[in-house]
Symmetry: C2
Subunit: 442 residues, 2 copies
Amino acid sequence: MSTNDLNLNEKAKNVVEILKELHSGKSIEELKDKYGYVLSTISPFEIPLIEQQLVKEGVKIEEILKLCDLHVELFKDILLSREIKDVPNGHPLDLLLKENDLILKQSEVLAVYASALLKSQEESDAKNIVAKVKDVVLKLLSIKVHYRKIQMLVFPYLERRGITAPTRVLWGREDQARIKLRHLLEFIERLEKRFDPNLITEIGNRALDLAREISELVFRENRILYPTVQTLLSDGEWAAISSTAEKIGYIVETKGEKWSTDAKPILPYEADASLTREKVDLLPLEFRMMIASQGINPDSYVIKGSGDIDLDTGFLNIEEIKALFKALPLEITFANSDDRVKFFSESFLHKGFVRTKTIIGRRFEYCHPPRLESIVKKTVDEVKRESGYREFWTRIGDRVIRVLVVPVKNREGKYLGSVEIVEDLTEVVNNPEEVKKRIIVV
Amino acid sequence: MSTNDLNLNEKAKNVVEILKELHSGKSIEELKDKYGYVLSTISPFEIPLIEQQLVKEGVKIEEILKLCDLHVELFKDILLSREIKDVPNGHPLDLLLKENDLILKQSEVLAVYASALLKSQEESDAKNIVAKVKDVVLKLLSIKVHYRKIQMLVFPYLERRGITAPTRVLWGREDQARIKLRHLLEFIERLEKRFDPNLITEIGNRALDLAREISELVFRENRILYPTVQTLLSDGEWAAISSTAEKIGYIVETKGEKWSTDAKPILPYEADASLTREKVDLLPLEFRMMIASQGINPDSYVIKGSGDIDLDTGFLNIEEIKALFKALPLEITFANSDDRVKFFSESFLHKGFVRTKTIIGRRFEYCHPPRLESIVKKTVDEVKRESGYREFWTRIGDRVIRVLVVPVKNREGKYLGSVEIVEDLTEVVNNPEEVKKRIIVV
């Protein structure tokens, strides 16, 4: 038995005491007051080990699960004693921290069940515990909503400042965690099909490993990433993150947690990319070291060129708009609200029906043979009135062609016209099995 | 026997004389001189009837087929004595007339074989003749290239002038002819699978009917449509038709038949829609009657609005461009030649991968996890160097997603960037049989 194990054993005994108090109805806040010293000797990273110890000693899982809340609380205290503080309620950072509380707790629950699973003797016990493991894994899958906000909303502001190595590393770990979650789920599903004691060990070990990894990610974010972005990002940048984050959503309740600022939202491409020495000195050690070794090279690109048109989700000049329509795998014919052809595109990938510039201005229904005139008119009238689109399938020679008629509406929902979208989907319709073979889940 | 039949019998005898001369090597021009009077008594519309007569009398088909050239020649003479004349070599009208010569000849060959088929007694004879019928039918399928030029290039100029009834009627007939061609081919293919004397009669009658219909269309075009557009359309309008027609192509040789004009090409939406009384008086009777009964109501729409951008194949304002991207069944992310995200679109039909405005300006490869960074970079580098695109298949949850990476190039072939195109094709991949059931060939 190593010294560490001895310590853990002692600490585990103390934790059992705390558990008893929790069981008697005491709150974690009360316990923090009473067991202040005892708790201060326990690092948040020892909790999972203590939990495993308790599982070994036969403490009931339901009891141990209560420790998860304690773990999260201890973790927060550590953070409060460090860089991250004064985060307003509902601020993106506040919500990201709250998400991490939830993730940390779930990962710990996973660890507890994993330990119990590895210790289980009976098949029925194991099966019951695996069901619990599965529940937690399914919950943890939503972790991607948390990671996505970090990857898509937060990282671009760091990249703008020339900070890319830590963001790429962190994304890599988040990515690994998600892949491992998926693999774990696959093992569980295999076990559900056919019981196998070897799979039990595999699942237990994988779940333990995953729980550790996810906790570490929470730690890295809370201790390194968040203090960094809190130091660097302006209120305008947070305003942009805050409004954009709503599109992705949160895995915690956000009602009544509104944060607002008078600052104008600033997207990464609009952001001031400079990093002052004073700012750098305020950063966590890991970032200061990275910057010391690599220097600061802000990514001061300019994305909007002269002649660029602001299209809300980016900028395109006229040449790019023309070229983009040609690069699509489909061809469109747009008729305005008077049913007049106003524009058509031609794809260099797939040919649909021939259209020529002589049809610009033509009544849309006159672009079709008289036999189809009434159905074309009826279809356009329908999409004009209703919100849905219409789908048809036809052939051009031996090609299988999908024709969509879709209403074109502006942001306020006003009808601007209809678009006929013609796409050659022959290979997909004729060789779906080939397509399925090519599917790679990344 | 009706008087008409008597006449036909007499005329048929004369034609047999002419055939003998043709057989001896005389040219049609020579025969026209020699048999001037005899030929003048034969209307082009009697030729098919005479041909049927000759088939009945046992004249060899190879001989009768030579009459087809005579038919076309007689037809031309009739035309020359009427409205259409002075058409420059290579002018769109000249090429359309030449296409009609070919179509007329093919339809007549069809009629001859059809008559022979209906008269055939032996199964082996019938089969041989059906093979000939099939050859002609396959050739006649390219008739759509002729019709398409009329429907897409010529008609819009008439519609602009408020003339729509004759164009819709003519398109309807052209459409019917093409459908009948397709049906005839289906009957032939059924016969090829299993011989059936009833099918022989069916094919023979259908082929005869079709040959008559196609000849009539040639007649209507040459005698009514072409004189009308020759009278009405300006050189600028013909210039636009001429250059646009190249895109559709011709079914006759056009080399060395270049027609050019100094007039600036005029598309229908740019055309002067007014019809003067003097012009109307020059039109064929059918059009004068139509105009007399319905009046002249030029379709004087204006297609280009203020704020519209000229995109070569039509006009769109910024609101329409934004709305169109949303109406597509796919989502795109465009990175410029520096591999920076410049624009992304969001479809209201299908959701792909989440993108947010915070990625505008971001390095394209940084929008993906580090695990995929090298493949993303490699793919973009490949489409940058080569002209092709790359196709990948993946899943988002249970959705089957196609990802294309396509180079975006301007008209001169200069690389402007790459576009990632994400399309949800779940229903097509999972239910191809459903899709096939929905295919309607129109």
